[in-house]
Amino acid sequence: MEFIDYYKILEIPKSATEDEIKKAYRKLARKYHPDLNPNNKEAEKKFKEINEANEVLSDPENRKKYDSYGKDWKQADAYEQARRQQGQSRRSSGQQYQSGEYGGDFSEFFESMFGGGGRRSNPSRFRGQDIQAELHLKLTEVFTTHKQTFSINGKNIRITVPAGVENGQVIKLAGHGAPGANGGPHGDLFITFSIENNTKFKREGSNLYANVDLDLYTALLGGEVLVDTFDGKVKLKVAPETRAGTNVKLKGKGFPVYKKDDQFGDLIITYGVNLPSKLSHEEKELFSKLKKMRDHGSE
C-alpha cells in the first residue's frame, strides 16, 4: 500500500486554505465527474481520487491527522487511540456531497488511515451506485431467449436474455445496483452484452450473411445445393448460369428480431464459384473444345 499525496491530487500547496481546497476540488470535479465523462474509466478513477482527497483535506480533523501522520500512515491507529482517550469529539457536520454514485469507493490507504469514521455524515439521501456489468455470450446463445445467472458483488442475479440481443446493447435492471446512502433508493444495474460470433455467419441486426461456394458445373448448368442456416439446413435450387457474387435471400431464415416473438430477419447467401483443379488430360481437351466453340460462336 502506497502513500497517497492528496495535495498533489488536488493540485494545491500544503498551505492551501479551506476555500482554496474547495475551489480546487470543484474545478477538478467539473473536469472528471463520471456523469460528465460517460464511459470514461480513467475519469471515473481520477474522480474517486479527487473525492477521496477532498474528503480528507476539507475536514480539519482529517487533514490534521493526514498532515501529521500521512507518510507514517501505519501509526495512524495509535494516533487515533490516543486521540480518543483524550476525549476529543470527532467530526464536523458540514454538509458535503458524499457522492452516492461514485464516492463510496475509497483507497486502501484511506481505509487504513481513517476507516469508516473518516467519512462525514451526509444528511441527504442519495441513490446507490449504478453498477456496470458486462455479460459475454456466444452468438449461438442469443439465438433463443434464455435465462442466465451471473454473480455481481457476490449476489446471484438471474435474468432473461431475450433472443436477438445486439452486441454492445445495454439493458437496465432498475434497483439492482448498490444500496442508497442514508436510506436512498438502490442504484440500477446496467448490463452490456458482449457477443462473440462463434459461427460462420455475419450478422447485421436481424439479418445474417453467409457465403456458399458452388462447383463450376452447378453454377453453369443449375442444380441443387444444401445450405447451412443458423438452425439447420435447407436445399436451394440454383439457376443455370449463376455468377459468382449472386445474392439469394432466404426470408425468415435470419436472426430473431429483438423482443418480437416469432419474427426473424433474412439470411442472405452470396454465391461463389469453385473452379476445378488438377484437370485430367481429357478434361483439358474438353475445356479446350468448349473454348473453341465459344470463340467460333462469338465470331
Binding site: 470543484r26 470535479a29 467539473r30 465527474h33 456523469d35 460528465l36 460517460p38 464511459n39 456531497y97 457522492s99 452516492g100 454514485e101 441527504s124 439521501r125 442519495f126 441513490r127 449504478d130 445486439e166 452486441n167 454492445g168 432498475a174 433508493p185 442504484g187 440500477d188 460470433n197 455475419k202 450478422r203 447485421e204 450473411y209
Partner: protein
C-alpha cells in the same frame, strides 16, 4: 401513470435541499418532465438519476442552469454518438475477416 412511478417535487426539494424554481427551470429547458396531477407537481421516478446529477452540478460544482443545459445537451450528443459508434463497429465486423 402509476402513482408509484411519480415523486412529488415537494418531496424532491426537501430531500435534496433545492428550490423548486431549479426543478421548474430544468422543466422549461426540457431536461426534466414535470407532471401535474390534482394540482400537485411530480417528476417521473426514472428521471431521478439525471436530476440527482444535475442537482450535484448545481449545488456542489456551482454550475449554473445555463451550464447544466449545455452539459445535458452535449451529454445527449455523446450518448447518441456512442450508440452510433457501437452500431458502426458491429457493421464493420461484417466486413472484417470476410
Amino acid at each position: 401513470m402509476a402513482a408509484n412511478s411519480l415523486i412529488s417535487i415537494e418531496q424532491v426539494c426537501t430531500q435534496y435541499k433545492v428550490d423548486d424554481t431549479f426543478i421548474r427551470a430544468l422543466n422549461e429547458l426540457g431536461h426534466i418532465q414535470v407532471i401535474v396531477q390534482h394540482n400537485d407537481q411530480y417528476i417521473i421516478r426514472d428521471q431521478l438519476k439525471d436530476l440527482e446529477s444535475m442537482i450535484y452540478f448545481y449545488t456542489e460544482l456551482q454550475i449554473n442552469i445555463e451550464g447544466i443545459d449545455a452539459i445535458a445537451n452535449l451529454l445527449k450528443q455523446i450518448r447518441e454518438l456512442q450508440d452510433e459508434l457501437m452500431l458502426t463497429k458491429n457493421k464493420l465486423n461484417l466486413f472484417e475477416n470476410a
